[in-house]
């Protein structure tokens, strides 16, 4: 029964969603709404599950003093500090006049969100720029036709997407043929064509995989063998 029940649920939900797209009326519309709400509830639990799992893994790392355990310690402390300020400010706000929320401007939670979390996460993302530059210098080579095409497209898009592209070409080329126009053309024509091909491929793959899952032919999502 551990396998049959999930397969039955998957079959019913999958069929209802597929039918509801074409027949959005009773009973399929009502079922779709119900299943959609259930999905939202499961999603909310998944957030908790993810947070608690992160804590569990981090605590295990710290207690067993695994390599890089100080990073796990930072995760735990950061998590607890944010949770503390969230609850503390939320509790304080409930009994204040006028009431305020833990995320309102001026609260400790908001301060940490703005000046610690936002700054640190943006920094992590910004590191990409350094690695891209390094990789472009050391590895981005026109070794064959495909790589050359990619390189030429990158050249036009990178310069055309910033003002310097037009600054370089404005005095040579007529309006409508400057670097930004080339970048626009690359994005609108070859990029769109490629994206469409990829999207159609993904859609076909999704349909076939979904059918296999709905019909119970694909069972790896259940775990085990």
């Amino acid at each position: 029964m551990r396998r049959e029940i999930p397969i039955a649920i998957t079959f019913i939900v999958g069929v209802v969603f597929a039918l509801a797209y074409f027949i959005p009326h009773r009973p399929f519309g009502a079922f779709e709404a119900q299943f959609g709400d259930w999905f939202g509830i499961i999603g909310a639990f998944a957030i908790w599950l993810g947070a608690l799992n992160l804590m569990k893994i981090s605590f295990i790392k710290v207690f067993r003093k695994r390599p890089d355990f100080p990073f796990a310690l930072i995760i735990i402390i950061s998590f607890l500090v944010m949770v503390f300020f969230g609850f503390y400010e939320g509790y304080k706000g409930l009994f204040a006049t006028p009431q305020f929320s833990y995320r309102d401007p001026g609260t400790g939670f908001d301060w940490m969100y703005k000046w610690v979390y936002s700054a640190l996460s943006a920094t992590m993302f910004a590191l990409l720029a350094f690695f891209v530059a390094s990789a472009s210098y050391r590895a981005f080579r026109a070794r064959n036709l495909e790589a050359t095409l990619l390189l030429v497209a990158a050249f036009f898009v990178m310069l055309g997407r910033v003002p310097v592209g037009d600054l370089l070409t404005d005095w040579i080329l007529p309006t409508g043929y400057t670097m930004s126009s080339w970048a626009d053309w690359i994005m609108s024509v070859p990029n769109t064509a490629g994206q469409r091909a990829i999207m159609i491929g993904i859609a076909l793959g999704l349909v076939s995989t979904s059918l296999r899952i709905i019909l119970g032919l694909e069972r790896t999502y259940l775990g085990g063998d």
């Binding site: 939202g40 703005k114 990029n191």
Partner: protein
Amino acid sequence: MKAGEMIATAIIIVVLLVCKFLLPKPIQLSPGLSGLVTVLLGLCFVYIFYLTMKDRPVERRIVFLFVGIALVVPFFMQFELPLPISPEVEKAYDQMAKLQPGAKVLVSFDYDPPSAPELQPVAVAFMKYAFAHDLRVIIMGLWPQGPQQAEQAIQSAFDAEPKLRDQVKYGVDYVNLGFQSGNEFVILRMGEGFKTQFPTDINYTPYDSIPLLKNVRNFSNIDWALNLSAGKPGTVEWVQIAVDRYNLHLSAANTAVQAPMAYPYLQAGQLLGLMGGMSGAAQFEKKTGYFGKATTYLLSQTFAHVAVVLFIIIGNVAFFRSRKESK
């Protein structure tokens, strides 16, 4: 930590302290000095080119240093650069500009702080425009951090235009419905009724007691929607469900990484305009007339793009030269 790294760290700290306490604010290089710095950076690239041609490619740390300089120094420069408005930004702006006062706009904040440098300027410019033109803004988020980003955008708009703080009323001119888990299912259920997914706003005020939402039942009561998206769930899900099934008029602002994926929807007319990356954000700021961080950051991005392109050229010239020699 090695001695070299300690010295580099110490130099950076000293420079930051000098900038913080000794230099006058705001720090701005004159156009002449800005030009001189640019020429010096160009000469450094010539030297790197020379070294690379001599089979002495510069090490990774030098590349990092150059990117760092290319990103940071332009913050203090004064350059007037041309910024043509792309057709997709023009289209998005036109959708917004044709809204009548009192029109209801749904804005979904589907991003988190890592993507904020590219998307937050659009949010701030939009808020300033919306409040100045009496648009009614309904905020929501499919990402947990989205509503908090919205609050920050509103505060930035209020800080820039203090009179808005008194003029704009929460619940009447704008409302923040908060985050709802469930990804595309939230959009699907909103098609039947916003209240099913947001029974209260972010402050737990019941949906029915919010004046702005009085006649808002589902997407058919929304005049225009703007999706600020950094991934999934985001623009693709909004197009596939809200636009395809419920005929929502939707425009989007995407990160530069995500924008190429939205182009097929743009050409098909399912997406009414797109602001892609920092450049799209700066163009949007220019169109609205509310210049902000994207315009400032764009100069940094320009320098960084040029630096990367020069590194690619230098690397490839050296590659072809070495290949020719080996033959």
